[in-house]
Amino acid sequence: MSEGPRLSVFTFEGREIAALAGQSIAAALYAAGVRVFSRSFKYHRPRGLLCVAGDCPNCLMRVDGVPNVRTCIEPVRGGQTVERQNAWPSLDFDILRTFDRLDRFLPVGFYYRQFHKPRWLWPLVEPLIRRVAGLGRIDVHATPDVDSEVTFLSADVCVIGGGPAGLAAAQTAAHAGAQVVLIDRQPRLGGHLLFADGDGAGLEKSLAAIGKLPGLQTLTDAFAFGIYEGNLVGAFQGHRLLKIRAAQIVVCTGARQRPFLFHNNDLPGIFLGDGVLRLARCHGVLAGQRAVVATDNDEGASLARQLDELGIEVVGLVDSRRDVPADNGRWPVFPGSRIVAARGSKRLRRVKIGPVEDDGTVLRSTLACDLLCLASLRVPAHELLLQAGARFVRADGEWRLDKTPAGLFAAGSVAGTAELDGAILEGRDAGARATAALGFPSAADFRPALLDETLGEPHAGQRRAAAPLGPPADKNRKAFVCLCDDMTDKDLYRAVEEGFDHIETLKRYATVGMGPCQGKVCGLTSSEVCARATGRDVNAVGVTTSRPPAVPVELRVLAAERRHQPVRRTPLHHWHEATGARWLDAGAWKRPESYGDPAGEVRAVRSQVGLIDVSTLGKIEVRGPQAVELLERVYVNTFADLKIGRTRYGLICTEEGILWDDGAVARLGPDRFYLTATTGNAEAVYRWLLMWRDTWRLDVAVQNQTAALAAMNLAGPLARDVLAPLSDIDIGAGAFPYLGCREGRVAGTPCLLMRLGFVGELGYEIHCPSALAWSLWQRLYEAGSPYGLRPFGVEAQRMLRLEKGHIIVGQDTDALSTPLEAGLEGLVKFAKPAFHGKEPLLFLRRRGARMALVGFQLADERLPLEARDWMTGWEGCQVVENGMPVGRVTSFRFSPTLNQYIGLGWVPVHCADEGSRFHVRWNNLDAAAEVVPTPFYDPAGLRLRS
């Protein structure tokens, strides 16, 4: 990278830090002299940069209040506030480093054994452990910024990884005519070529050619976190969730180096080889001045050469292979050797070198250095492939792809091909096979642009001899396998000795691979340690199950799809709007709560006539020869004896006997029924009926007409006077009695009318096609005006139905309420052969109910005798007896009709008799209440039957 203009500074721990354009936060901090970036999870050991790729946990910091940000890949933006995590009082001096010296008391799984005797000790110790452990902390008082969006993409081929293999695969597939989406986590395409030696001109030229291809969409700074069933790729770009459905997927996620195991292998100053090159070539920062390179393959020599070219003094090349020249004339080479220990307090000062086969006792040399570069044999970055069902095996010392499921391809170093030309051709082949599977013309002979360019080659071949793990751990070694959770190989050996010898149980007991890296740094190493500790072949040990997300994802990104909040409007919405309705959100529905005077609306319904829009009700048609059978089994009532032209109030229970929904059931023909359901359950009841119809294989058609039909309730003593002139139906009291239903026309509009009494007055519920609702409502309003017709809203409706003691399922009932306790036992027809909930309800009937839903009045002189806005706050209040909570209030209002406080509530059965007294606790007031029979209003039902 070249010198660019300096950005405005960011602050770190109170210091102002300047950054070059394009630098990451970690690179800028490193350039400013910061070497300790974090403290480890358990021992609070100092940790420095390692991978510079966002894979390890060492650089996690808090940025602008967001914890656990991977600063090595987080770009600098002016004005950021960067803070340490998990260290006090500072990163350079953390007082909890004391734990590092107490490691003998904090072995693997110590919290299962230590501090549990005496028993009173653990409740004291556990909070302390939770407090000092962990990394970033969430500010629970912060309001999250929920600006995330979701983008849905479809492609013939999705290529994950924009390195040489991925570029070749994408270019080949696009050349064949496929629609291709190429995603890469870095800000620019190129993969490891971005930090290869060379001037990068060849790569730029190739990218220019590839960018012109039609049908190829590239997404950079995009992280794929999962491959899901049906070739769905989950990814994110910033705060945007990407859901990519592809017919074929090509995974080219590359390979990564990993730390060797030796004492103090976590000291700041120890880097993966790629990390040093990324820091230098992508961010313009040299990682050190005196470097030792440790390796087990040819890349070590290449790395040493590149370090030398960058101006870093190479003071030694430690190669585990014995058959390498001991002297290359440039720097000392130590064949057949390994790093046995790194020394330094808060940063690397020197390394100790010993023979490969020795346990660390024999030393060959000690080298003073400030940088140790680990050029280990690469392992595939295979998390996504594992999620998708691919399998890897270890053979000849390296991990290789064994098989992939249909519709999925892999190419490049993730598939085991490290050489550049080989990776490009393998990418080409993968792209060609993916498109051939979809019927596109063959692209097997296509020549990707990258093959024609001179590209840097950091992967100079991998003549391999993977460094052995070293002898089993001795008591003095802190050779970390899992940097996230401070697990050493000694810990893993101990866990195996304790019996956790299966890789999955070892993972869960030792928590290895369960930290921020999710096994990227430690996963395969832990399998190899487990194999050595158990004496088994590593392929028999296997690897742990890989699950999404493969990279950290913010919850607000995952929730992006849920941000859309559809608004449902009835066909009369704009009429209500124009009339000054005050709105209520009932789920996604907009409903008029009132038109400004709920008490006045109640009085209008009681004395004259009112009109309410109830279009949100669920409406379901059931037709067919076995329609009765379906209803008999789903409802607790019986409908076999329901006459044509009649309506019945129906209850639906779950199989556990819990009251789930209610509504009207109208019989329109021998095999034709019309059901209503509650607003919130409409879709669920419809699907419930479909499911049971299919389960029982009944010959019946079910159709959800909730959106197709509008509904309005004309209620009040003058309702018949309003309706009669408009309808061709005889709605006289004798011709159309209470609970009748008729089909006909009202004001020329085809309608279904049901005489129902939810609000306790003479009432007609009128259902018509949504397209004609506006016209019908207008005509009813016009016809009703001379009679004082007023529209009324949900609040008035609630008061009216409460005065009648009618329940609202979901408000007056909950997930434990049954019809027997809610006073609806008379509706349950136990004589039916079978219905949902029959057996549990029979049991309850035999046992006897313990709670009961009752009506009550408040008679407390301290309460004002008029409605107040805070009345609704009483709903949910406790019912108390002798000062102890024994139940709750579900509905409560001041009744303008009765001029008193009334409510419904759950009380113990011994308090349920008429005249029983209890108290309702509201804030500091225990108001006296008395059980009264329901309905509170018109108990004989004369008005609604008029």
Binding site: L153, P566, R568
Partner: protein, 229 residues
């Protein structure tokens, strides 16, 4: 409110929006229709076709009926129905066919039967005209429509959804919708959603379409695209 003695007129859920945006209305076949808008016409149009009839056919013998009409009886296909009642027939699922009339008519669907539909009670016909709101997206090329919708549809199937003679149920801004395209080369894609979310979806389409020059148009543009208002 204006009082009226007129015969009931059906209206689209978008009626108020159309009024507010200068639509010129006409009355046809029992509907109050937005025939045109005063705004300048664009190359990418959004037209409300809610008044056009929709019929659903369900039942155990739907598969038999599917075989009659669809060469490849997999859900996701659309065929054109010609004759007295022209329209698109969508194979929505193994259990439902949906007929979308392309001619606005007042009556005549009560006893409507698809060609080849047997006299049989095991297929039930449902009038869904008021259940769905329908919109047509019309471009100079279908790729215009694809660009507009791309990224906003929760597609669970391949990108060939907008190919001629295809339909799919998908999600749009949290709302289930049916997309369909007739088996011809006309650059017309239809979207059908539940009546009660029509305004929400219409607003969202115009919102995402603003950058593409999407403009609302009235029924007078439909004839050249095979729909008769």
């Amino acid at each position: 409110m204006k009082m009226t003695d007129e015969a009931p007129l059906a209206r689209s859920p978008l009626h108020v929006w159309q009024e507010a945006h200068g639509a010129r209305f006409g009355e046809r076949h029992g509907w109050r229709l937005a025939e045109s808008f005063a705004a300048q016409r664009s190359d990418l149009l959004l037209v409300d076709v809610t008044p056009f009839a929709k019929l659903a056919f369900t039942g155990y013998e739907i598969l038999d009926l599917s075989h009659t009409h669809f060469p490849d009886p997999q859900p996701g296909r659309v065929v054109a129905v010609s004759g007295a009642k022209p329209g698109w027939l969508c194979h929505q699922s193994d259990e439902q066919l949906l007929f979308l009339s392309t001619r606005l008519e007042a009556e005549g669907f009560a006893s409507f039967r698809l060609p080849g539909q047997p006299e049989h009670k095991r297929i039930t016909t449902w009038d869904m005209t008021s259940a769905y709101a329908g919109f047509l997206l019309i471009g100079s090329d279908v790729s215009d429509v694809a660009r507009l919708l791309g990224g906003h549809l929760n597609l669970g199937s391949s990108p060939s959804i907008l190919s001629p003679g295809s339909c799919v149920e998908t999600g749009f801004y949290g709302v289930p919708c049916l997309l369909a395209r007739a088996p011809d080369d006309r650059p017309v894609v239809g979207m059908w959603v539940a009546w009660d979310v029509a305004e929400y979806v219409w607003d969202r389409l115009l919102q995402i379409g603003a950058a593409h020059g999407l403009a609302a148009a009235g029924g007078d543009v439909l004839r050249e695209f095979g729909w008769q208002a």
